[in-house]
């Protein structure tokens, strides 16, 4: 029987490697992901500026942006093949998750600050730039953590 010859320690390693696989074995992130994400946030911030003048356009725009997210997730699931559960996985990834939270907070803070200081258009531009750069930083952090996981698990 196959299991008779299967060493328990090797079984443990097999399980650990396979559990980590969806997190660390992923296809290259396309170059357009960063500007596209920045454009999505810029559009979102742009729509927020319409809340008191064009409520119908605001709601329609939010629905369209939600559909874009749904489409993106559907495409990425097929592209990746095993999109992992968010914010879980091997311990090495925790640092990258912290970077993601910090980037998210920075986007909100800088967009709000730009809006207050320099107006709506500045907030839209800030949303684009900070999101694109922040996501790139997160991706770099995640890639480094994923490499460390692959090295540990062999």
């Amino acid at each position: 029987m196959e299991s008779d010859a299967f060493d328990l320690a090797e079984a443990q390693r097999t399980a650990e490697r396979a559990e980590a696989a969806p997190y660390v074995d992923y296809p290259p992130t396309p170059w357009w992901y960063y500007p596209a994400s920045g454009a999505w946030v810029a559009a979102y911030v742009g729509l927020l500026g319409l809340w008191d003048r064009q409520p119908v356009l605001l709601v329609g725009g939010m629905v369209a942006l939600s559909a874009v997210v749904g489409g993106w997730l559907s495409w990425y699931q097929r592209y990746h093949g095993a999109m992992p559960r968010p914010f879980r996985g091997p311990r090495e990834l925790r640092t990258a998750y912290v970077v993601y939270v910090l980037v998210s907070l920075a986007v909100v803070a800088l967009v709000a600050g730009a809006w207050q200081v320099a107006g709506h258009l500045a907030a839209v531009v800030t949303g684009f730039v900070v999101t694109a750069i922040g996501l790139y930083a997160y991706e770099r952090s995640y890639a480094g953590a994923a490499r460390r996981v692959r090295e540990r698990l062999g």
């Binding site: 299967f6 320690a9 079984a11 396979a18 696989a21 969806p22 074995d25 093949g81 996985g89």
Partner: protein
């Protein structure tokens, strides 16, 4: 203790498949095949065993070259995998 190991899951290829499915809500046939390093027919055979045990559900979409097959772990499968992993850890801890 050793009897707590699930014979359906303990076979190496099925253990790896269950571990991947435990970590991702939906997994493509291609991803599993690459991870396990097996042929199409071997993977189909292993997944059919897990499906018969009620541990995974299969979904097929599309036809021809664009057809895709994806697998999801079931609630029963998730519980069985968690129990198997706990038994494995306990056996290794006992040395």
């Amino acid at each position: 203790m050793i009897e707590d190991l699930d014979p359906v899951i303990h076979a190496p290829k099925r253990l790896a498949a269950m571990a991947v499915l435990h970590a991702a809500p939906s997994v493509s046939f291609t991803f599993l095949k690459d991870q396990l390093g097996v042929s199409d027919s071997d993977l189909s055979k292993q997944m059919a065993t897990l499906e018969r045990a009620g541990y995974v559900a299969v979904a097929k979409s599309g036809r021809g070259r664009g057809a895709t097959t994806t697998y999801q772990i079931t609630r029963v499968g998730r519980a069985a995998y968690a129990k198997h992993r706990a038994a494995l850890a306990a056996l290794l801890a006992d040395g």
